[in-house]
């Protein structure tokens, strides 16, 4: 009787879930997270607030300012009239960019000399700074060529980039598939760890352990309901992704769900392992966060793993979410099939075996 008591535990967990006031929020949480990550976190740089300190006030300088505005990267807030004002606009955070045009800019250009423009950039947000830096340099470069009478059509080499899978570079396309992985892990790890630790805290686990319930029945009975909830949330987030954010699933939905199930095994195992370390719910919370943070920060969910320093890049290989997020992006964005994702699927299966064995070893049917 490897699963003795399974059905009884399942029924009981169902009642707990139905009566727990927190259940009301179980489907609200992923939706809120999705809205936050999908809408609020927008790494697309546009409309950077900009002030102009124009000492030249000539036709050339006015045209230059207009060209900056035309790139759409710069949003002109207005003019300042001294270096101090320009400085304080940036220090106060009102503007992130200050364009300073010296008095003789127009005259220099007309006389065939080099016109100088200073672009002062707030470097504290590196993503914005880099984008502004590139676009201002590109603007100067193209404008210089135009003055020489060369239009882009006359370039000796025509570089034509083509953006696959996410042609408009929407950050939602990047974040939302990864978010599915984070939500699924969050729910399964937290809920399973808490459902076991809560029983330990209230003494009901001790009562259960003196019954002939089997370890398998107890663990599986606790995991299955939360697996179902995790799956429900995954489907909910997928639907919102497709219909609200307009991110289509390019690959096979069946494969996506299948590999999600594979990912659930290590995630649930992690929950049990956490529950064996924690004596009460607040300890479980701390240990869970310790497990969750690397998954959020190092899995490539937010920051590209390619740009991580080598030791951290290596650590990211030890996180199951890394592979699952790779799978999600592969299937949803690139339409990848199982052949392309075989390595990741295998890694997840390996983690699954590891965490299940570890949890079976750690979870004892006695105390102390």
């Amino acid at each position: 009787m490897m699963f003795r008591g399974l059905w009884a535990i399942l029924k009981k967990e169902n009642i707990h879930i139905k009566r727990d006031p927190a259940t009301r929020f179980i489907f609200a949480i992923p939706v809120i997270e999705l809205l936050i990550f999908g809408y609020a976190i927008d790494t697309d740089v546009k409309n950077v607030p900009t002030v102009v300190f124009d000492l030249d006030r000539g036709a050339e300088s006015r045209q230059l300012v207009q060209e900056f505005a035309n790139t759409r990267y710069f949003m002109l807030l207005g003019e300042v009239h001294s270096d101090q004002d320009l400085q304080s606009a940036i220090v106060s955070g009102r503007a992130k960019v200050g364009i300073k045009i010296p008095p003789d800019y127009s005259a220099d250009l007309i006389n065939g000399r080099q016109g100088q423009v200073q672009v002062i950039i707030d470097g504290s947000d590196s993503t914005i700074a880099l984008q502004v830096l590139n676009s201002s340099q590109q603007l100067g470069f193209l404008k210089s060529l135009a003055i020489e009478g060369i239009s882009p059509a006359q370039f000796k080499i025509d570089v034509r980039p083509r953006l696959l899978f996410n042609p408009n570079l929407e950050s939602a396309n990047f974040f939302v598939p990864g978010l599915i992985g984070i939500i699924l892990q969050l729910v399964t790890v937290f809920l399973t760890a808490f459902s076991i630790v809560r029983e330990r805290e209230r003494g009901t686990l001790e009562q259960l352990l003196v019954t002939p319930v089997s370890k398998g029945g107890l663990i599986i009975g606790k995991l299955l309901p939360y697996t179902a909830i995790g799956f429900g949330q995954t489907i909910l987030v997928l639907l919102l992704m497709v219909f609200l954010f307009g991110v289509p699933i390019n690959g096979s939905v069946a494969l996506l769900l299948l590999l999600s199930a594979v990912f659930l095994v290590p995630a649930l195992g992690m929950g049990i392992v956490i529950s064996t370390f924690a004596r009460n719910q607040s300890e479980a919370m701390q240990v869970s966060i310790m497990f969750m943070l690397p998954s959020i920060l190092l899995s490539g969910f937010i920051f590209p793993r390619e740009s991580m320093p080598l030791p951290i890049h290596l650590i990211s290989f030890l996180i199951p979410a890394t592979y699952y997020i790779e799978i999600l992006r592969g299937i949803i964005l690139r339409g990848a099939g199982i052949v392309a994702l075989w390595d990741e699927a295998l890694a997840l299966a390996g983690f699954g075996i590891f965490f299940m064995v570890l949890s079976a070893l750690r979870f004892k049917k006695h105390l102390g």
Binding site: G5, I15, H16, T204, E206, L209, V210, T211, P212, H366
Partner: protein, 317 residues
């Protein structure tokens, strides 16, 4: 009678702390075995080892012929356990809790219905089946816990302070229930702090600082030579001015020990001191209302005396 619990040299260490030290006893079927001792003396640890919840560090035990370490799963099918705190599901109703434990013990449907009727009737839970366990009173929570522990008709039931924190009427009802169970042949292993409950046990064991100090029928324990050494005697002493009585007695050279017992003070008095002599002494002190009478020691006297003897000279009063 057959032995159903047999502990031999049972010991448990938690790190450097010895929680249970070389405890041995045998309990026969149908006994109500009272297990007493101050908090932290190792009572719950012994129960947890017998139930297979904790592994002994040394020694071992057999329950109904099964080894607690190697065959704990066999034992679990045959014992009931009621822990110190209420440990059923508060968000489940009485009925759901009972049904859950029935299913856990793998009771088949026709058996289950009959057993459920039996325990619900025994514990007096009819009319409360739909109530959430969280909303039950302390006494009813204990009845529910007992009902769940009895569902699978166990040979032995362990009750860790079953009456702690519940009112006297509920306490008496629980004990009536325990007597019925014992009469039907169930062995009960009960821990308690209440001396009146200990008096009702067929045998009691007293554990102090991890060691078993005494074991026997209550009336036999009262006759232990170390409780009344060298021809000394226990007196029950009353006075109208009860507040002064205890300190006065403790100062008296013939009195070895004195403790309050109900309305009287129980005092262990050295050999050769008569009741009349003590009454005379108090009369000279200005309290003529003092009355002394020789009594057998109460169980409490026994345990207090045992504790004093084994505490050693270091902390002696």
């Amino acid at each position: 009678m057959s032995v159903v619990i047999k502990a031999e040299g049972l010991s448990k260490k938690f790190g450097t702390l010895t929680a249970v030290d070389n405890v041995s006893f045998e309990i026969e079927a149908g006994e109500i075995f009272g297990f007493l001792g101050p908090n932290g003396s190792g009572k719950s640890t012994v129960i947890r080892m017998l139930c297979g919840l904790l592994q002994p560090s040394a020694g071992g035990a057999e329950l109904v012929g099964f080894d607690v370490v190697k065959q704990s799963e066999e034992i679990k099918k045959r014992i009931g356990y009621m822990s110190q705190r209420f440990s059923l599901y508060e968000d489940l109703t009485v009925e759901e809790n009972i049904d859950f434990y029935g299913a856990i013990y793998g009771l088949a449907r026709p058996d289950m219905a009959a057993r459920r009727r039996t325990v619900v009737d025994l514990a007096g839970l009819e009319g409360r089946m739909e109530q959430l366990a969280a909303t039950l009173s302390g006494g009813y929570k204990q009845r529910l816990a007992l009902a769940c522990a009895l569902l699978h008709d166990p040979k032995i039931v362990f009750l860790d302070e079953p009456t702690a924190g519940i009112d006297p009427v509920a306490r008496r009802e629980i004990w009536d229930l325990l007597f019925r169970l014992a009469a039907e042949g169930t062995t009960l292993f009960v821990t308690t702090h209440y001396m009146d409950e200990a008096e009702r046990c067929s045998r009691v064991a007293y554990i102090y600082l991890a060691k078993l100090l005494a074991l026997g029928r209550p009336q036999d324990l009262k006759r232990l030579p170390e409780i009344t050494p060298d021809g000394s005697q226990w007196f029950a002493i009353t006075s109208d001015d009860a507040t002064q009585l205890l300190p006065e007695l403790r100062r008296h050279p013939s009195v070895v020990d004195a403790t309050i017992f109900g309305e009287a003070v129980h005092a262990l008095v050295r050999h050769g001191t008569a009741a009349a002599a003590l009454e005379d002494y108090f009369r000279t002190q200005g309290d003529a209302s003092v009355r002394c009478r020789a009594v057998p020691p109460s169980l409490e006297d026994v345990f207090v005396a045992l504790t004093r003897i084994h505490r050693g000279p270091m902390k002696g009063r």
